[in-house]
Symmetry: C2
Subunit: 435 residues, 2 copies
Amino acid sequence: MTEAFDAVEVIRRKRDGERLAPEQIDWVIDAYTRGVVAEEQMSALAMAVFLNGMERGEIARWTRAMIASGERLDFSPILGPGGKVATADKHSTGGVGDKITLPLAPLVAVYGVAVPQLSGRGLGHTGGTLDKLESIPGWRAELSHAEVLEMLGGIGAVICAAGAGLAPADKKLYALRDVTATVESIPLIASSIMSKKIAEGTDSLVLDVKVGSGAFMKDEERARELARVMVELGEEAGVRTSALLTEMSVPLGASVGNAIEVEESVEVLAGGGPGDVVELTVALAREMLAASGIGEDPAEALADGRAMDVYRRMIRAQGGNPDAALPTARESHQVLAPSDGVLSRLDALAVGTASWRLGAGRARKEDAVQAGAGVRLHAKPGDRVARGQPLMTLLTDTPERFPRAVEALEEGFTVTEGDSADVERRLILDRLSAE
Amino acid sequence: MTEAFDAVEVIRRKRDGERLAPEQIDWVIDAYTRGVVAEEQMSALAMAVFLNGMERGEIARWTRAMIASGERLDFSPILGPGGKVATADKHSTGGVGDKITLPLAPLVAVYGVAVPQLSGRGLGHTGGTLDKLESIPGWRAELSHAEVLEMLGGIGAVICAAGAGLAPADKKLYALRDVTATVESIPLIASSIMSKKIAEGTDSLVLDVKVGSGAFMKDEERARELARVMVELGEEAGVRTSALLTEMSVPLGASVGNAIEVEESVEVLAGGGPGDVVELTVALAREMLAASGIGEDPAEALADGRAMDVYRRMIRAQGGNPDAALPTARESHQVLAPSDGVLSRLDALAVGTASWRLGAGRARKEDAVQAGAGVRLHAKPGDRVARGQPLMTLLTDTPERFPRAVEALEEGFTVTEGDSADVERRLILDRLSAE
């Protein structure tokens, strides 16, 4: 087969800071998927994109080409008790202690909106939703398309593994970016996320774009730009899209790990749980409901147990036992407050890295995670602490991991004299939408 | 084995515009040679170097690391009739019709300086010295180190293939840059050339840095910068180094190809040949002699046949028959002047590309070249031409190649009204040395 373009020519164009032609983008993504453009050529192109950027039109075309590399799902046959059902999806750019999908999906389903959460496993210091749910005995992540449709129609929510058929170009490119230092690029992140979400075929999408030390985007302006690009990409593809910019310098909730995050999610579904997890769950649910034309207050369905009912049915439908005891770590180690005062800083990246090193996360795709590993937080910024009081409990099955986890936390928190009122946290920084 | 660094960290550092630490450079080149740093990682790093540059100190360290990846040659045991002999080498950055090595090496040897020309094959529109010499029946490019030493001691000059042991990191990286659009980077070009030349162990080196359409460097300022960096790298490594900046917008001489360039070289060795080829040969010879402390005028040894004698001995020692008829192309096609006037422009890149397409060059490393293919130039810029007069003869064994060669030449020359005096060519633009 004669190729329409030459990879070297395409790389050179982006290298020289020029705009890629639409046909060049289509070709390079397709040829990369077919293996005609080699990994080393795509990595050179990715670095050129990283350093020279892409314009909005290029990003949109790049996203479309990645969607076209695979199959598209169709949720239009979903029928609920009252007829055709709207679908709403949420995507988080990844943070520490971010278990929001677990209470959120059943909560939104309560209001008759179907929530297909095709999720991934974690890599590095941010956890993966599937890793968390897999700590529930019997629960399985892999479902057929028919099973997904059945759950969406019958229960209204499903959290499962994304099939290999969605945007295979993105799968290849994502793995490549990870080993070539080309991850933190707005055009590449935006097109990666949105190609999968658009191919999934949801009616609406809410993006939770994290900002801060524990997020990809450390800086609010860049996070805002990423959110803006993704909202545009979604709207152009006919998906009603909005984004919340949320704070990720401090871990979400009081648990970072796998089983302990499921436990905390169940507390939230039982009407309790940490305030920040509840606040963000409700805020995202409100966005998703609004996108489906529903003005009700989702806080109610947390308080009255309806969200919990959907959650339990959802877990059972995937083989999980919501009443089974969750795995616990065999070993624990406490990190104590070094002095009296106020916990004025608790760094999300440090806690995420500690949890990862304890075995809750993986360094390579093929690694297994420990269900019981992680970090329990006994104080959050603004809390008064006394010298010698436990600030965190580190959990693992393999105690030889403690020293490196402790090391990760060494510069990760600060106890200062002063007033707890000085420590302020705004969780939701901004909202972006097409209007 | 535990690795001292992480490839992603090294790439990220250069991506972010920072200076690489000396130990990082040593590690990344060594780990790439060992296959621990993958091709796609090195290509991302090469693109980051391309776009963010390297400082002088980084380039010097990178060069040293590439030298350390392989063996170093030692020409110190070379004894001529008068005792220990100085060695002088020449390197050209590559041009169209550049056959200078063929007359130059024997010419310099006449004066008692040993000339080891470890050369390569051509890729793309610039020809390779070995490809040219291989058109001589019987001549072989591959010699053992002992044979090289014997020729240098006995004849004083050798042109042969560089062994695989010299700077293997450069060999891998060079092939990678070719397919990832990371060729035209001053730090990467300078370190590539100088690592091989320094590993070769010559006492002195003269660089012929080409400028213009037919060269890597289209622009004089960038060519000057490349020359400056290479002179510094050579001097720092104890090799007396100078550079001539020479014009490469017009092909050198009247022949571009393989056998026809050997033919033209023999004309120069016989005291004739095109003026520009003679001028550059003599200028480079003068540099090489001066670096060895010899002030004689090399033009004499071209005129009196002494250089020809050395050339014939050199060819014979490698199995070649200097009296054998050279291969000729089976088919020819003439390009005619479209009007009366002066040939005011003859573009080196266009002629080089035409010659390549006729079969004189290769698109892939593994391709064979046609010995007889190429372009004979019947007029050079400044010459008066009459409408219908042949400007060039295209030569190939495979006439289906003519249309694409003619196409390459379509915008490649201009015949204008006016005076031939308006067309001026300065061949040697500048000289750079450590002083």
